[in-house]
Structures are given as structure tokens and as C-alpha cells.
């Protein structure tokens, strides 16, 4: 015995429990999490993607991580500067004087300053990574403390290093 009225009612109830497609807010095509924004995640089924940079609020560990990469790239340029110094030294007094004149110029001192700052930062931040690699300090308060400590150390060490050079009269503007 069929009771189409009841079956129809049940079906409607079930359907109303699930949000109908049309009732969903219109998807923002630029921020649809299942939309493959980069074209790199061609999966057979849509899967959640890790959040992209633009949906993160800034926090200190993120800044420290970005600075670690930036300082690493900066040290790459610094290595070219050091190699130029060594080659000028190997090429003889005239070549060395030309390099020293550049190194003592405003641009040269700015490059050396940035190089030293990148070096102090990458040193401290590398230590932070080595501590993490042992499985320590991975909780949020410790990670934040290490990130701040790294940034503060780099700033203090860089200023102290250059203050020492100027105070001893090794460098002058």
C-alpha cells in the first residue's frame, strides 16, 4: 500500500535539511578554496588546499621565516661581494685600491651593512631552525620567543658591530 502523500512529505523534509544549492551564498570565484588558483593541484577530487599567503594575518614567526629566506638570498649577493674583495686582493695593489674605494663609498658601506645584517640574522635564525630540528621549541610561545629573539639579536649585533667599527675609527663616512 503506497502513501504517496507521506513519502513526498518525508522527502521534502530531508531535502530542506540539506542546504539547497540555490540557497548558498554566491561563491567568490577569486577565493573559492576548492578552486585550483595556481593550476598546480590537479587532483581527481577536490581536496582542501593549504591557505595561501593572502589569507594569513601577519605574525612574528611568519616574518622570521620570510626574513630567513630574504637574508639567505642577501648573503648570496654578499658572497659575490666577498669574492670581488678576494679577487681584487689577488690582482694586486691597484685593483685592491679600486675595490677599497668602492667598499668605502656610500653604496659600498650600505652593501657591507646589509651583508652584515643578513649574516647576523641568518646565523641566529639558522640556530632557531637547528633547535626546531631536534624537536624542541615547536610550541607557539617558544616559536614566537625564538622569532623575536632572532630579530632582536640581529638588530643589536648589527648595530653593535658597526658602532665598534666607527668607534675604533676603522670606518668613516
Amino acid at each position: 500500500m503506497s502513501r504517496p502523500g507521506l513519502a513526498k512529505g518525508l522527502e521534502d523534509d530531508i531535502r530542506s535539511m540539506a542546504t539547497p544549492e540555490t540557497a548558498r551564498p554566491a561563491a567568490d570565484p577569486t577565493n573559492e578554496p576548492r578552486d585550483d588558483q595556481t593550476g598546480r593541484f590537479r587532483a581527481p577530487h577536490p581536496r582542501p588546499l593549504s591557505p595561501h599567503l593572502q589569507v594569513w594575518r601577519w605574525h612574528v614567526t611568519m616574518a622570521a621565516s620570510i626574513l630567513h629566506r630574504m637574508s639567505g638570498i642577501g648573503l648570496y649577493i654578499g658572497a659575490i661581494l666577498v669574492t670581488a674583495w678576494l679577487l681584487s686582493l689577488a690582482a694586486g695593489p691597484e685593483a685592491y685600491e679600486r675595490f677599497a674605494a668602492f667598499g668605502g663609498s656610500w653604496l659600498g658601506l650600505l652593501l657591507w651593512f646589509a651583508f652584515s645584517a643578513a649574516g647576523f640574522y641568518h646565523l641566529a635564525s639558522g640556530l632557531r631552525h637547528l633547535v626546531w630540528d631536534t624537536g624542541r621549541s615547536l610550541d607557539v610561545p617558544s616559536a614566537n620567543a625564538w622569532a623575536w629573539g632572532t630579530i632582536v639579536f640581529a638588530a643589536v649585533a648589527t648595530v653593535a658591530f658597526w658602532a665598534l667599527l666607527f668607534a675604533q675609527g676603522r670606518i668613516s663616512l
Binding site: 595556481t38 598546480r40 629566506r69 639567505g72 638570498i73 648573503l75 648570496y76 658572497a79 659575490i80 666577498v82 669574492t83 678576494l86 679577487l87 686582493l89 689577488a90 695593489p93 685592491y96 685600491e97 677599497a100 668605502g104 652584515s116 649574516g119 647576523f120 646565523l123 639558522g126 640556530l127 631552525h129 637547528l130 630540528d133 658591530f161 665598534l164 667599527l165 675609527g169 676603522r170 670606518i171
Partner: protein
């Protein structure tokens, strides 16, 4: 074959040396801690010094050896570091391969030039300065 064994077979694995690069980068990082502290100390000592003072400094065997170590380990650490940066941000296969090659060649060139310059200066002095003889 148990379900776990079957799962192990399906999971793509590195061909036995997956952790090698990672460990190498860390070993270099550990070596670079004392070497970079020494380099800062040396830089503070050498800043503003003239040609003759620099050459005499580099003719000291300890300075030449430490600087060569610092440069060579740094250059390889740079290569590994920038390789990760390229692999993370550059996805077009041609660009990626070109940048990885450029990274390798630039790091190799920096290392070779710096090592040559160190050796040229360090070994160019009077023979009796070698090993303090």
C-alpha cells in the same frame, strides 16, 4: 601482503637518499656557526685595513684555511638554500631547470674564484712564511 605492506608499496618514496640533502644542509649550518662568528671577528679586525695588512693577514696559514673552509661550505649551503627557494616558487619546468642550473653554476664559479684568490695570495708570499718556518 598485509594492508600496511600494501600501503608502503603504494606510497612514493625517495630513492634511498631523500634525507641526505636535508642532513647535509644541517651539517653545513652547524659548521658555519663557528666559521661565521670567526668571519665577523676577522671582518672587524680587517675593516679599513690597507692592501699590505690584508695580504699579510691572508698569508697566515690559519686565516687562509679558515677562510677557504668558510667560503666553500658557504657556497654549498647557498646552493642548497637557493635550490629550495627556486623549487618552492618557480613551477614552469623550463624556468625552474634554467634557474637551478644557473644557481649551480654561479655557486660553483663563486667558490672556484674565491678559492683561487685565497690560494694565490696565501701562497704568493716568501716561502719562509708558510707554516711559520
Amino acid at each position: 601482503m598485509s594492508r600496511i605492506d600494501a600501503a608502503r608499496v603504494r606510497v612514493p618514496k625517495a630513492a634511498g637518499h631523500g634525507a641526505g640533502t636535508w642532513i647535509k644542509e644541517r651539517v653545513e649550518a652547524i659548521a658555519l656557526i663557528p666559521l661565521s662568528l670567526w668571519a665577523f671577528w676577522a671582518a672587524a679586525h680587517l675593516a679599513g685595513a690597507g692592501y699590505q695588512a690584508m695580504v699579510e693577514w691572508l698569508r697566515q696559514p690559519l686565516n687562509a684555511v679558515l677562510l677557504a673552509l668558510f667560503v666553500l661550505i658557504s657556497v654549498d649551503h647557498m646552493r642548497l638554500g637557493l635550490r629550495v627557494v627556486v623549487e618552492d616558487y618557480i613551477h614552469r619546468p623550463g624556468n625552474k631547470a634554467a634557474l637551478l642550473l644557473l644557481n649551480l653554476f654561479v655557486c660553483g664559479l663563486i667558490g672556484a674564484l674565491a678559492l683561487f684568490a685565497i690560494l694565490k695570495v696565501a701562497l704568493s708570499g716568501p716561502a719562509n712564511t708558510l707554516f711559520g718556518a
